[in-house]
Assembly symmetry: C3
């Protein structure tokens, strides 16, 4: 960490923004433009590109080879997997610029490796987008979506694992949570 700024930038990374919270790490061949705003303890992996009109919350992870474009709003504790692609125009044409709809990643959600996110969608809190899914519409909180196009395929726990029915409750398939429906303050031993 740089003791003056409180965050770390690899010697071969480029960080033009000063709006990074304490504890952020920016790795080699990453490039953050001047207007981007990041909360605390974000991890920006090798080769990530972040435009100006992008806001990340605290403890966000962005894995390799992801470009975050103008109009993206990312809440706390979001995981963006390697090779995730964001579009920012549904009907792109070269050199034609349109106003970007906001794309929102809500608190604690995760985007699996190689997922594709269409512009203007909202991925709900603690939702899980499966690896390789192509997300063309909003994803409800705590929902797993998969496929091309992505379709809902069940609920997930706050720990990420699928919830399975047990009598008239749901139970986590990985940890100890049990209840009627997932909610943001649920606790699970696998978290």
């Amino acid at each position: 960490m740089n003791s003056k700024t409180g965050f770390f930038v690899h010697p071969q990374g480029i960080c033009e923004s000063v709006h990074l919270g304490a504890g952020c790490r920016v790795w080699a061949f990453a490039h953050i433009l001047a207007g981007a705003r990041l909360g605390r303890d974000c991890n920006i992996c090798d080769g990530v590109f972040i435009e100006n009109d992008v806001v990340l919350g605290d403890r966000v992870t962005v894995k390799n080879f992801v470009a975050l474009y103008d109009g993206l709003r990312v809440a706390d504790d979001v995981f963006i997997g390697p090779g995730v692609s964001f579009a920012n125009d549904r009907y792109p044409r070269s050199k034609r610029y349109v106003e970007h709809p906001l794309t929102r990643l809500e608190r604690g959600c995760s985007l699996g490796a190689g997922a594709v996110i269409l512009p203007g969608v909202t991925v709900g809190a603690f939702a899980l987008v499966a690896a390789g899914a192509v997300v063309t519409r909003d994803v409800a909180p705590f929902t797993l979506v998969k496929g091309n196009p992505a379709r809902p395929s069940g609920l997930v726990c706050i720990c990420g694992a699928p919830l399975v029915p047990a009598g008239d409750s749901l139970v986590c398939s990985a940890g100890d949570w049990r209840g009627l429906a997932p909610e943001e303050d649920m606790q699970c031993s696998a978290r």
Copy 2:
């Protein structure tokens, strides 16, 4: 812009070619090999890699993390979205080199984020490949394709928006074009 060459290369980009038209911009961590030929006003974003036997027309946009391999021919006004992957061998094996079939992107077409393009295909003029589509065969002009494998899903306007039936005409769903069939000299207010 460099006043001598007429094009711009970011200090952390690598451009080994001198065959770039005026107004081209090459951004950080992009790498263009010596034989590549680019027309005027191309925008080569962070992290793009371009091999030698590649030709781009004028006003081509190549978004982040795209590799353009030997055998690719790109006409004017083409948009290549972020994370698009081109294959150049249908049946690849390590260290086995085959002659590359030409892959052609015709004038004004657009490839959405995360699309995958198989070798030897032609994407027709003003066609639109949806984000995440896997293109295994030729795409007709003005045609929208989507899915894995990509299948035709309607026609698009020169502006990129879908064309919808209205009586015995087609109308643009975003702009003011109306007519019997799309064609290269059509005009639309949403362009």
Copy 3:
């Protein structure tokens, strides 16, 4: 090649490992962490990222914008196409670290452009993962898989081309192999 180490690192690549075999090439904006082990004659293209707990055999090709994460074991003669994404947690959450299951790419297999590989799978010897396929379970040797999720779609030759039935034998659709079933010591003129 560096005459002392026996391998080549581009001036704008970063190679922190000394465990590379003779003849390896590491290109611009690639980054190899100190613990990674590579065999002889590997080709690590622009923009590749390799973590510590990764082992590659001899003559492995890794095309652009691929990140190889802890837990990956790659045998000899494997081809990893551009934009392939590996996941290393089935249910990822930011800042939650789990033990990585081993992911194995067996001898001579090929992963097509833009493929996505879920953690813990094994891709069998000389198998072929089609471009854009999302691999969620093991792939048998000499098997072609395609789609999202990836499903078996026939057998391939040691050269990569599909095997087709001919009487009660199989024949290669590209070369001269003919036999009852593919096997690791088969010979084909298209190899």
